[in-house]
Symmetry: C2
Subunit: 274 residues, 2 copies
């Protein structure tokens, strides 16, 4: 026996994370919960400090305190930590959301996303979302830069998959041609056959100093904001490549020891110990 009220509250909290501002009506439409119930849940969350009700804007939003609900969670791999600052910087400057994805079995999982930082982005927050390997830019950018042997293993796994998005794995020649093209270009984009159609993602691999591909870094934009996809690519591909190189360098610096040569202030003990 589980407690229904709590399940509902968690559902609401999840929904609140999908959009920067949420009205009762929207939440009602998406969660199917009765409005009075929503009001009660939201009031509870508000008094507890996790939600703010901005009447001027007419809507509810999550507050800073929600971060404390996951503050005790052991963080992910260092590549995400090294990359998040760059992702945020790109979004601040160029507005579009940027994400970092790591491989997970036969797909990629988004481990960090700046969607909430991107004011122009009506996309949903996509952290923890799974992407297929062959139709998504972030998957292709990773797969294309895998070593030959690893890549063959991966393709073998994909062939056993039932997912229609992995269908290309059965056309080996075509797939290899595509991957070779991605390697030559240094980036990949989402398959045009896949939703959502009104946006595109440009993704580049993040490659360690050792040459091993670790993750992929992707930027998503509305097609309608550019005259052609070529314009967007000419603009953002260099930025992403440059950021991927910087992340790799940071990762290198971070994982080696922290330098101990400093502008020495003598480590004298404080007299007053405050």
């Amino acid at each position: 026996m589980t407690i229904r009220a709590i399940e509902r509250a968690m559902t609401v909290l999840q929904e609140l994370n999908l959009q920067p501002i949420n009205t009762i009506a929207q939440l009602h439409a998406r969660t199917k919960l009765p409005k009075p119930t929503l009001v009660r849940i939201l009031r509870t969350l508000e008094e507890a400090g996790y939600v703010e009700n901005d009447t001027r804007q007419g809507g509810y939003q999550v507050s800073a305190l929600v971060t404390s609900l996951s503050s005790g969670f052991h963080k992910g791999p260092l590549v995400v930590e090294a990359g998040r600052a760059w992702a945020i910087a790109i979004t601040r400057k160029h507005k579009w959301p940027v994400a970092i994805a790591l491989p997970d079995y036969d797909g990629m999982i988004i481990r960090f996303s700046t969607v909430p930082d991107s004011l122009i982005s009506p996309f949903h927050s996509t952290v923890n979302r799974r992407l297929s390997m062959l139709t998504r830019g972030m998957g292709l950018a990773y797969l294309a830069f895998l070593d030959g042997e690893d890549r063959d293993v991966m393709i073998g796994i994909l062939q056993k998959s039932q997912d229609p998005e992995n269908a290309l794995s059965h056309h080996r020649e075509e797939l290899l041609r595509l991957l070779s093209q991605v390697r030559k270009n240094g980036f990949a984009t989402r398959a045009s056959t896949v939703e959502p159609r009104n946006s595109d993602t440009i993704a580049v691999p993040i490659i360690a100093k050792s040459g091993r591909v670790l993750a992929s870094l992707g930027l998503t934009y509305f097609k309608s904001a550019f005259d052609s996809e070529r314009d967007a690519r000419e603009r953002y591909v260099p930025i992403l490549k440059s950021a991927a190189v910087a992340i790799s360098e940071d990762l290198n610096r971070l994982s080696s020891s922290i330098a101990i040569e400093v502008n020495s202030a003598e480590p004298a003990v404080l007299e007053d110990d405050r």
Copy 2:
């Protein structure tokens, strides 16, 4: 009217974030909730995926999914993003937890902490916790490096405070001497008059290229792990100072444009658009 069950669930979730592993008995002692109630709440959270019940270890812990509860929250200042990777790197190498705190009115608020990454740390996760300005290393490291004028304003604010931890603000001479000492040393430590007594925090300022102090970076350790506090300081002060400089440099790189000169792969449009 608020919903009690939800309030309780949030309390439990908060408690779960304070320790890596939690038994029913611990939670019962800390939350005062009846055990059957705890079991029901935990089962609900477990089925929803936010909590894991590791029977081998005999306890409950938060799972990766909790991060999605705050994935839609607009992130904090860039200095935290630039610093978190360094904080994590220090903790991975030297084990002790490291935190970043930002000023907030008359105190400091911890905005990031590696407590959950520090396996040897039985400290609680302290994100969003407020620290007083005059008795905490992180407060003093910030205050001491404020510009003369800003510092005077801050001291004025502190004098109006009733908090006994701000008492020192009424002894101007003594306070200025302390701050001058901190500036000379380049770091500050927690007042020995303040809890917890069995640990100490070493804090350094994070100073922007402009010379303005932005935040402070602190490392906390058990006194019993060292022969003397001097030993600990000789060891960690240089590391912290070095990291603070690196963070400042990263911040500078991040906030200027992302370089667009790259190892040019021609931005040719992909033939196959997948």
